[in-house]
């Protein structure tokens, strides 16, 4: 089947975002090298921003884990990023964006740009992906942009699983998730699959990236069980992360990277108003912080900094699906609601005796659902443009869009939830998913990686404590002779 026309519609819709006639010239004789360059600069730099989000997840997860596990989290992040890059190159990209049927793509393995039909995309490359042919950027730019997305989704998966998961467990799940599970769901919408054809809208991935990650995370934590000491006599205990400063650095990096995540998802620049998307994204993030701060104050009577940070991410996740389809004020509402939900949901998760150290489930899961549904509430006619979708309930829509969004979410939950459950169970009953109690007590750094992440905090490192027969402040090397001063 040929999806080109559908995808063209998608791009045209993008142009309409700007409200101007758009690339009249381009219609005739294809994009100019200049236009391709502009589009590529935007998309590649957007991808770089999304790649940078790995630093954000690293800092967030490190900051909210225990000091004795900080190095293990660092190792996990870098191996998972690597797995995502290689697996998505090998199989994921083809499954997600290659030509195929409505359920999965079936060509383009190893980004191999030749297909049986010998089709040619607009950049003069033999193309396996008619879906991409409509974008005025090289296939490599599309790949780069998409591969960093899957890496984000994978990073989310492990947010709930800190402090107790075996390294090998991360690796195996990562391979399956990035090479198989995620790409299939991505194909349904972004690859022009059945959900796209039904009119399902998820601009930058509230459900595709975030909800999927959170679903796998939920399965992971359920199968792992809580960390030792998390629940005592049925009551959740505080196990504070060891560094709020690093966690907050992570949040800000994520916020920054999200500018590429959402605004870059136009997958082009000429004729597209991506600044508008960036503004919506910022507004939602800010409102999310306000929401979480207020709710924390009201419910806990304290200003929990980690939840203020969660609020930002909740707002960002929620606005990810609707960012191109709604007005600024709607972005504020969407973010605010997402933020307000965080503190009560954190408590709820605790009550269900689910251990989620970084708030992954409220922030990526529930917010992802909320954001995807919000499209069905707030999307405006003019912003949807030529896409096969309908305005939101509050903008004169019949509610049909809300229904489509709803069953899109259900499909994602069903598929990703089930697949993740199977994979995690398989790991558990073969090589094991969780470290031993002793190893957990000792910390993953020393038990899996042979060395603490902060060695000087735990072991006697030779010379760690600066002692010497004499030492004095300042400037030795500049004002004193090189011999040891008497």
């Amino acid at each position: 089947m040929r999806l080109r026309s559908l995808r063209t519609a998608w791009v045209v819709a993008g142009m309409l975002l700007l409200g101007v006639p758009g690339l009249a010239a381009a219609a005739g004789d294809g994009p100019s090298p200049t236009d391709i360059a502009v589009n590529s600069v935007w998309v590649v730099l957007g991808a770089v921003l999304v790649l940078f989000m790995q630093a954000g997840f690293a800092m967030l997860e490190i900051g909210l884990s225990r000091m004795k596990n900080a190095g293990a989290v660092a190792g996990k992040i870098i191996i998972n990023l690597s797995i995502a890059v290689l697996m998505f190159w090998a199989t994921g990209f083809a499954l997600a964006f290659g030509d195929g049927d409505g359920f999965l793509g079936q060509m383009g393995w190893f980004m191999n740009a030749t297909d049986a039909a010998g089709d040619t995309n607009s950049l003069g490359l033999n193309s396996f992906m008619n879906a991409i042919g409509a974008y005025n950027i090289p296939v490599e730019a599309v790949f780069f942009f998409q591969v960093v997305f899957v890496a984000v989704s994978l990073a989310i998966v492990f947010g709930t699983m800190l402090d107790r998961t075996k390294f090998i467990g991360y690796v195996i799940f990562g391979v399956v998730f990035t090479g198989l599970i995620y790409p299939i769901v991505a194909h349904w919408t972004w690859g022009g699959g059945w959900l796209f054809q039904d009119g399902f809208l998820d601009f930058a991935g509230s459900s595709i990236v975030h909800l999927q990650g959170a679903l796998a995370a939920l399965m992971g934590t359920i199968i792992l069980g809580p960390r030792i000491g998390k629940f005592r006599n049925g009551k959740a205990q505080p196990i504070p992360g060891h560094s709020i400063p690093l966690a907050m650095l992570g949040v800000i990096i994520l916020w920054v990277g999200w500018m590429g995540f959402n605004a870059g998802s136009t997958l082009g620049a000429v004729g597209l108003n991506f600044a508008d998307i960036a503004v919506n994204t910022n507004l939602a993030a800010a409102a999310g912080v306000i929401g979480a701060t207020v709710a924390s104050l009201v419910i806990f009577r304290t200003l929990d900094v980690s939840q203020m940070g969660n609020g930002a991410i909740a707002g960002l996740v929620a606005v990810t699906a609707p960012c191109a389809f709604v007005d600024p004020w709607a972005a504020v509402v969407i973010g605010l609601v997402a933020g307000l939900l965080v503190p009560p949901l954190v408590v709820l998760v605790d009550r269900m005796r689910i251990d989620d150290p970084i708030g992954c489930l409220p922030v990526h899961g529930i917010s992802g659902i909320w954001g995807t549904l919000a499209v069905g509430l707030f999307a405006t006619e003019s912003r949807i443009g030529a896409l096969p979708a309908e305005a939101g309930l509050f903008y004169g829509g019949s509610g049909h869009q809300l229904w489509v969004q709803f069953y899109g979410i259900l499909a994602t939950i069903g598929f990703t939830g089930a697949c993740s459950l199977v994979v995690f169970l398989a790991i558990k009953y073969t090589i094991g998913l969780r470290v031993s109690e002793d190893e957990e007590a000792a910390g993953l750094d020393i038990s899996e990686h042979g060395m603490y992440g902060y060695p000087e905090q735990f072991i006697e490192v030779p010379g760690a404590f600066p002692e010497s027969t004499r030492h004095s402040a300042g400037l030795s090397s500049l004002t004193r002779p090189t011999t040891t001063p008497g």
Binding site: A236, Q237, P238, I239, T302, D304, S306, D350
Partner: protein, 122 residues
Amino acid sequence: MKKIEAFIRHEAFDEIRTRLAGMGLPSMSISEVKGSGRQGGYTESYRGARATIFMRPKLKLEMVVDDADVERAVDVILELAHTGEPGDGKIFIIPVDDTVRVRTGERGDVVLAPHPEDEPEG
């Protein structure tokens, strides 16, 4: 020879050290401890979960002094560590059998003789 072990507030230490040094007793060691006593715990909260912290940070001051110096040292600590609020801490006096100075190998009371403090370097 006695060892004085005093569990005090951090804030008090600076002045105590200065006063003791001025009396010829600059030799001492301190370390971080956490303690509980009459002073109650306090509640901390993280992501909605609450717990009470009973062990609060205190400073442990240890100094071995000659029998003759015990009372004046205790008096200094008592005076300067005192705020009147719970949590001011306690002082314990423990017998010591012998003392050795590593640098010289000297032993006994001579090691503990009061001495003025040296000038700072650098």
